[in-house]
């Protein structure tokens, strides 16, 4: 029996000596372990990037009572910064406790950050940044200048924005003379207003710094650009009002102060180049039965690029949706000068898109496209309804919306801790504002009107326009577009309120041959 007990203990000792020591057992006598990281950081061109910092971590976890469950650990960390060639080397040591029984290791790098040419980086590719098997790792990173943190390098954004910047054709009879500069407009004449649930104006203040609001399940959240503010659950509606004279508002910005805004982002293997243009007024009162107008009119066009940065589709935004065209069907010129002659079909040397803007409504069209027509039929003789048709000047090339410079819109991000949206990096500070931009016509008697738009980040199209959205996304044609809106009937307007039989009233969207009216 004693012999058996001895044999049992010998087996246990052999087992412990063989298996119970950690698999990372490197130096069982000194019990001090060394982990290293050889870090390399380069840019898209393959050149090393200096002064990129990060932290290297070496963690050893222990099972001191042999039950197979981690019950203790040691963690060592050290920061690093890449040298002029973009390299950094770090080593760390851990001496394991005398009572260790089993253990695991984990070495990894975190918190990579830094700047290129004074611009914050984003990591677009990384390899071998952590290991549970090896003490020595060789992390490598590809980083880009990316202030707005959208994983598209800022120089590439500028390059793409310049390459495709469009020529905007204006209808000669459009009341809007020039593009508007929203920043100037807000600073010089903007007022932030808030209405409570009863419709009473309860907030009326200067804008800067622009206040950020958000509606969530708790109500309206009210914060300024720095995250300061308070929750105001009783607020119903926020709007920036412009103190402008209606008769002069159509002038837009003066020469030298007319921006063309752009937004460039990547989704899956495609890049998207959006150009946004802002008009002071959308005023079709002269073309409709009602006082159909609103201040603030964001419009845009989007060029979809493949991975080699060649256009594969162009989406023209019109009213509630858009139409997609192949680049071969669109009109391009070799420069964005208004004197340049548009030619149908894209080539790499003819990359500036021509866009025809409809009169007063400012829908964007490809040349010779059918145009939007909305008819409202009130089923009582003589009462009339509505019959509005876009008008473009496809032929004369006599008038343009010129711009003096381009402005990057950037990106926004939602933060729980921040209670709302905020601009990423150097993105436009007003981009996260979620209220309406400008006053608008509203007939309270029938609960209908023309809302002013929201900022581009909240417009249909900033992202959703392009992703799996059958109404607003790429791939739409006249038929698909019309299916969603045709017919509209009811008492209170589009997709809202109780529906009445179509014999009471109905609305019809169709696409008709353009008549410039010139």
């Amino acid at each position: 029996m004693k012999k058996l007990i001895n044999i049992f203990f010998i087996v246990i000792l052999i087992y412990m000596n063989t298996y119970a020591r950690p698999v990372w057992d490197q130096d069982p006598d000194s019990r001090t372990y060394r982990a290293t990281a050889n870090i390399a950081v380069e840019n898209l061109a393959g050149n090393g990037v200096p002064n990129i910092s990060g932290t290297f971590h070496f963690k050893m976890s222990f099972d001191t009572d042999g039950d197979g469950v981690e019950d203790n650990y040691q963690l060592e960390s050290a920061s690093f910064s890449t040298d002029q060639q973009g390299y950094a080397f770090v080593e760390l040591f851990i001496t394991v406790p005398s009572d260790w029984y089993n253990g695991w290791k984990n070495v990894y790098v975190s918190d990579i950050s830094g700047q290129i040419n004074g611009v914050d980086i984003s990591v677009v590719e990384s390899n071998d940044t952590q290991s549970n098997y090896y003490f020595n790792i060789y992390p490598s990173y590809v980083v880009i200048e990316d202030n707005d943190q959208d994983y598209v390098s800022d120089p590439l954004e500028i390059q793409l924005a310049e390459k495709f910047k469009p020529v905007l054709h204006r209808h000669p009879n459009d009341r809007q003379v020039n593009l508007e500069n929203i920043e100037s407009l807000m600073i010089n004449s903007g007022t932030l207003k808030g209405w409570n649930l009863g419709g009473t104006l309860v907030y009326n203040s200067d804008i800067p710094p622009l206040h950020i609001v958000e509606y969530n399940e708790e109500g309206w959240i009210f914060k300024n650009s720095y995250g300061w503010g308070s929750e105001m659950p009783s607020y119903k509606l926020w709007r920036i009002d412009f103190n402008i004279t209606k008769s002069t508002s159509y002038n837009g910005a003066s020469a030298g102060n007319r921006p063309l805004y752009y937004h460039i982002f990547k989704h899956e293997n495609n890049y998207y180049v959006q150009y946004w243009y802002f008009f002071t007024m959308n005023d079709v009162r002269g073309d409709t039965e009602n006082d159909t107008w609103h201040e603030g009119d964001w419009e845009h066009v989007t060029i979809k690029l493949d991975n080699s940065l060649s256009p594969v589709a162009v989406n023209f935004y019109q009213h509630y949706g858009g139409h997609t065209k192949y680049p071969s069907a669109c009109w391009w010129s070799s420069t964005n000068y208004t004197s340049s002659t548009p030619i149908q079909g894209y080539s790499d040397s003819r990359s500036h898109l021509h866009v025809w803007i409809s009169k007063n409504g400012h829908a964007s069209y490809n040349k010779n496209d059918l145009v939007y027509r909305m008819q409202v039929n009130v089923n009582i003789p003589f009462l009339g309804g509505e019959d509005f048709t876009d008008q473009c000047d496809y032929e004369t090339n006599q008038s343009y919306y010129e711009y003096d410079f381009m402005e990057k819109l950037g990106e926004i991000e939602y933060s729980e801790g921040w209670y709302g949206y905020f601009p990423k990096g150097n993105s436009k500070y007003w981009l996260p504002f979620v209220g309406y931009v400008g006053d608008y016509y509203w007939n309270s008697l029938v609960g209908q009107g023309t809302y002013s738009p929201r900022m581009p980040a909240f417009r249909r199209g900033y992202y959703s326009f392009t992703f799996n959205n059958s109404l607003y996304g790429f791939g739409n044609g006249e038929d698909n577009w019309a299916i969603h809106l045709n017919p509209i009937y009811g008492i209170l307007g589009i997709n809202f309120g109780p529906k009445l039989p179509a014999y009471v009233w109905n609305s019809n969207i169709s696409w008709v041959q353009n008549n410039s009216g010139l």
Binding site: E289, N290, D291, V376, V378, N379, I380, P381, F382, L383, G385, E386, Y441, W442, N443, S444, L445, V446, Q448, I491, L500, Y503, V504, W505
Partner: protein, 160 residues
């Protein structure tokens, strides 16, 4: 609230104007049954409150009312009509008349140059007797210069 005040004011004016006419001794009446009823659709043509009075002959009645048409634009409506009735309690009704549409803008002011008068004809079923419920249903045809539209309608009220 102002809108409702105006609504009531216009309604009272109509009443004051027509009631003496209907009760005039110069009109020979056999059975002057009066009714007040609400109408959904019909000549209203969305929702209206109406007064109906037999005169001259028990088979002939006059109808006037005040309604709203809040479709796309907001209109106050004033249906006027003459009905010819066949039967006693259960009657077949034919009628002709006009509906006046006064367009209101968002500032609650009447836009006179956008206000319209639309002729109508109609037919339907009516249940009516003195001091009893009033019920009617039928179709109203609005007649335009180049089109007409037919609206079903249903009315309920009381006779006295």
């Amino acid at each position: 609230m102002k809108l409702w005040k105006r609504f009531i004011k216009v309604f009272l004016i109509i009443f004051i104007f027509f009631i003496p006419l209907l009760s005039s001794d110069s009109i020979k009446t056999k059975n002057r049954v009066s009714s007040v009823y609400f109408e959904l659709f019909g000549q209203g043509p969305i929702l209206s409150i109406n007064y109906d009075k037999h005169f001259v002959d028990k088979n002939i009645s006059f109808r006037t009312g005040l309604g709203i048409f809040p479709i796309y634009n907001f209109y106050f409506t004033f249906p006027f009509g003459i009905n010819y009735l066949f039967g006693k309690k259960h009657m077949f009704e034919t009628n002709t008349g006009i509906t006046v549409f006064l367009k209101m803008n968002e500032n609650k002011k009447i836009i006179t140059n956008d206000s319209k008068v639309v002729p109508t004809i109609g037919l339907g079923y009516r249940y009516q007797s003195e001091k009893d419920w009033f019920f009617r249903t039928g179709f109203t045809c609005y007649i335009g210069s180049d089109k007409f539209s037919i609206w079903p309608g249903i009315s309920a009220g009381a006779s006295f």
